[in-house]
Amino acid sequence: MPENRTGAQIMCEALIREGVDVMFGVPGGAIMPFYFAMWEYREQLRHVLCRHEQGAGHAAEGYARSTGRIGVCIGTSGPGVTNLVTPIADAMMDSTPLLAICGQVSSTVLGRDAFQETDITGITMPITKHNYLVKRAEDLPYVFKEAIHIATTGRPGPVLIDITKDAMQKSVVPNWDFKLNLPGYKPNYHGNRKQIREALRLLAHAKKPLIIAGNGVVMSGASDELRIFAEKLRVPVITTLHGIGSIPESHPLNLGMPGMHGWVHSNKAIQECDVLFNIGGRFDDRVTGKASTFAPHAKVIHVDIDPSEIGKNVKVTVPIVGDARNVLLALLEDMPSQDELSQLHGHASDWMEHIRDLQDKHQGKQQYKNRSATENMTLPPHDVYDALNATMAKNGNYVLVTDVGQHQMWAAQLLDFNAGPRTHITSGGAATMGFSVPAALGVAVAHPEKTVWVVCGDGGFQMTNQEMATIIQEGIKNVKVMVINNGYLGMVRQWQELFENKRYSGTPLSGPNFAKLAEAYYWKGITVERTADVQTAIDEALATDGPVLIDFQVEREVNVFPMVPQNKSIGEMIESEA
């Protein structure tokens, strides 16, 4: 006898069938039937109650980005789901598999401006990979299956399901026996073999070849393949913000980050290279600078699973639509002949030497750390990164989450990510301030055994710090927050300093006593004002069996260099204070 289930029970079972075991959310009127049902399934489906839906969304993103699995967040109709809009947009920009489950008013009052009614499918149409409004309990098994399939396959992204309250309440016999009906959705995982050979031919005859590794390498789990490919060809690798971790920072072929706050030698290498092989990066404008001046001498090979990314911003010679890992495997199968390889290797050492020369000459990483401009400061922010680097080198079992702004760029520039992919979690495309604390919550739920370092600014921290309470309520102990507190919305202030004659309009920012605030949330709070205390504080945070916040009261007006002014060529960098 087939058993009846309420729509809400079907939702729970559909999630369990897809391997979901944790969800982040906030209940409310329209979603109550789901919470009612969830209680029965609590052994299989953990619910993490967040303090704000934005926190729930970012937590689900942190969970997804650090695991590669789908992140699930929940909000009720009206303001509940509109609070999810920011994390959904963030997930769209950074291709994060996210499922947003929303309660909607009953179908009987839908469209009549009912209490807490919002057209969330209409609102999120441009910022989801796909979305659904479900009004019948019978449709739930199919819709959940299809939604999770779409969110996690091809180029991943956020999918939203809006379910009317009566659909959740209605009792039906669920039908789990169906085939997905997606005639218009067939992601291409295997790159065209002819194009792959053409890419190899170009690389084999290049004198100054260069690889850009983006988020696609991390998401497809292609780190090993990328490293082997780069080693076999001896081609240097530039990692975009989201490509960080795809190849170890310590690898001799790794050149670091390109773009607006990338290294001079990375950007110059791009401007000089003759073949540019971009795998899984989308030529974001923060990478390319003024796109028409980008890589002027290069034949560009672009590997992306999303055909619409190819040729969107940069003209491409060899387009390859496919999954980064599959394409790299095919590239490795079809390696050039020994003869061609030895030719390439001959050029490669000259090219690499040239780039390392550039690095020595310009404000390379090492030089940047040995800065002289910061000598008179009590606590230059760089000292925090130096100490954290030392700790990360000793304790490789970490994930580092950053927020958005100056501290984020310093983290990308100065920290040595050698712990593999999915250990650098940040908001890139949308650059959502307030991302880090809730995202760290999601990371910590997924990785209770790892230290979850959070580096954030005092501005972004104050946007979502209420999730500190969630972290305590969930008994999470492995989150260690480091506030790079400069009393400004620092990146905007930097632009005001450099381009707007120091008119600090709307950027000076006061905060609470962050250490005391942490203590109010039952965290450990530490305040650091001098370089001498930095390492001790970080060590203490690591040794503490519980969440810790360190308020690093750093020098207030320090800029992130190098920097490419907006819409300038990446060849024109500001390298230091004028």
Binding site: M125, L133, D139, Y142, I150, L180, N181, L182, G184, P307
Partner: protein
């Protein structure tokens, strides 16, 4: 900017037109006309979109990102049959009625309603012929007008057979009730 004629097959589901129109708007392309209706298969609708764009390849690639979009082609340079229909209510007192009727004969337009001082005329043809007809009758006094927008079909064996995509579309019974 060049005008392009795009033909698209889409799953016939609520919201799909909003998705297509919204995408074209937010990516910064101008829609000159958009005609939508059933194809030869009940589950699949067919759109003809006329857009202004420097980079029509991006338009089609972006349209493909929509889950319900099955097939998109720019048929601007293909041999096609293109048609548009216009229905015009003209000011037509007895003095000019005769002239209008003979003009309709030249354009193979149909008179579908005659009132005391008005006439409704239906005319179908290539977009340029429709344009031409409107210009010719405009001096009589256009009281109302509605154009359908362009529809296009590629000549010969090549084209957009919705049937090719239907077998998969029969997989479940709930699709049509899902947004």
């Amino acid at each position: 900017m060049r005008k392009h004629t795009i033909v698209a097959l889409v799953q016939d589901q609520p919201g799909v037109l909003t998705r297509v129109a919204g995408l074209i708007r937010r990516r910064g392309y101008n829609i000159e006309s958009l005609a939508v209706g059933h194809s030869e298969q009940p589950e699949i609708s067919r759109l003809t979109i006329v857009v202004e764009s420097e980079d029509v390849e991006q338009v089609t690639k972006q349209l493909y990102r929509l889950i319900e979009v099955i097939k998109v082609s720019d048929v601007t340079f293909d041999p096609t049959v293109e048609r548009e229909m216009v229905v015009i209510k003209l000011h037509a007192p007895s003095a000019t009625r005769h002239e209008i009727v003979s003009m309709c004969g030249v354009f193979e337009a149909k008179i579908v309603d005659v009132g005391t001082t008005t006439m409704i005329i239906e005319m179908t043809g290539t977009p340029s012929k429709v344009e031409n007809f409107i210009e010719v009758v405009r001096p009589y006094g256009v009281k109302e007008m509605m154009r359908t927008g362009r529809i296009a079909m590629v000549r010969g064996v090549r084209g957009h057979n919705a049937g090719e995509y239907v077998e998969q579309a029969n997989g479940n019974g709930v699709a049509s009730s899902v947004n």
